[in-house]
């Protein structure tokens, strides 16, 4: 009986450790999936933005409340807004990701802003960032550096 209790406890502990590991690593065990992450190019000392699609495959809602990256001195989550023919932006404290849904971080909308880049972020390179979720924990993303896709005559 003691052996059974010990074995069960060990299994539960391993499962729990595995869960923490997968949250830290993000993929592939997490039910939060990050698709098509990309960053705009930026010269050292300037600002840029990280875009991606976050998919929540779990039954529970989640929230992105912060992001981190060694690419820039400051990382914030921002949202664009429109006033007539003028555009502006402001920081947001969190972005909700409802259960079984996708939320797109995209141009002219929400984005992770990399403020005061520590080096040149060049076209074709890759850059890393970590997204912090309330439930899923830290999820690392590796984003390619590119401009907007060529969409002649298309409104994006």
């Amino acid at each position: 009986m003691k052996y059974k209790i010990f074995a069960t406890a060990t299994i539960l502990l391993l499962v729990n450790l595995s869960s923490v590991y997968s949250q830290e690593k993000g993929q592939p065990k997490s039910k939060i999936q990050i698709h098509d992450p990309w960053i705009r190019p930026a010269a050292e000392g300037s600002n840029t933005a990280l875009f991606f699609v976050v998919e929540n495959k779990s039954d529970k809602p989640d929230t992105i409340y912060a992001a981190e990256s060694t690419l820039s001195e400051v990382v914030e989550v921002h949202e664009m807004f429109k006033k007539g023919d003028m555009m502006g932006m402001h920081e947001v404290e969190f972005v909700a990701v409802p259960a079984h849904s996708k939320v797109e971080f995209k141009p002219r909308d929400i984005h992770v802003m990399l403020i005061k880049t520590k080096k040149d972020i060049k076209l074709g390179e890759e850059g890393e960032a970590v997204l912090l979720f309330k439930n899923a924990g830290a999820i690392k993303v590796k984003a390619t550096v590119r401009d907007m896709p060529k969409m002649n005559g298309m409104k994006h």
Binding site: R40, P41, A42, A43, E44, S46, N47, T48, A49, E73, V74, E76, H78, M80, K83, D85, M86, M87, G88, M89, H90, E91, P107, R108, H111, M113, L114, I115, K116, D120, I121, K122, L123, D147, M148, K150, M151, N152, G153, M154, K155, H156
Partner: protein, 195 residues
């Protein structure tokens, strides 16, 4: 009677063309002393006089709208080259001249691999830039900011999202939303003005 119909039709056609490209603002007599990305003094709009100009307004600390506007100008430049439309110049003017020094503008263009063969980035004295922005009907109001421990402050502007076309005489003829411009539309408009 036929002659009258023909004349009336001609008037309608001429009037329609005029409507499409009304003068929004006349800069033909203006002389703004500015500095390009190579630190050379230039006079705007004289540097583009005699050519159609595609003019965009940016600040380089902008992470989204201004890169979109710049990328759209690149797409327009590529389309015009493909269609062999000549005598078109591109100008990006910063409305944040205290930050956007020539070197900053040069790096902004270089990191994007822009073709500067017919594209100039401009900055200048704040009072000159302010005067030009007022004339071109471009508004930029300081919005949110990021303050660093060393006291440095980055200001994010709430600004007009715009690309304009200027005719060979220096008259602004049409406004477009810079970040969402329809590339086909402006290319056709430029071709109409060239013809």
């Amino acid at each position: 009677m036929k002659k009258l119909i023909f004349i009336l039709s001609l008037i309608v056609v001429v009037y329609s063309c005029g409507e499409k490209f009304d003068t929004i603002e006349d800069l033909s007599e203006e002389k703004y002393n500015l500095i390009d990305q190579n630190n050379a003094s230039v006079n705007f709009p004289q540097i583009v006089r005699g050519k159609i100009a595609v003019v965009g307004y940016i600040f380089t600390n902008c992470p989204d709208i201004c890169p979109l506007t710049t990328n759209n100008m690149r797409l327009i430049q590529e389309r015009l080259k493909e269609e062999k439309v000549k005598d078109v110049e591109f100008v990006s003017i910063s409305f944040d001249p205290l930050v956007d020094k020539p070197e900053v503008l040069r790096k902004f263009a270089e990191i994007r691999n822009l073709n500067l063969g017919n594209w100039t980035f401009l900055t200048g004295e704040k009072n000159v830039i302010d005067s030009l922005m007022k004339k071109a009907q471009i508004f930029a109001i300081p919005g949110d900011s990021t303050l660093f421990p060393n006291g440095e402050k980055i200001i994010y502007y709430i600004h007009t999202d715009r690309i304009q076309i200027m005719d060979v005489d220096g008259k602004i003829r049409k406004n477009y939303p810079g970040s969402t411009i329809n590339v086909n539309e402006i290319v056709e408009d430029i071709k109409s003005l060239v013809d």
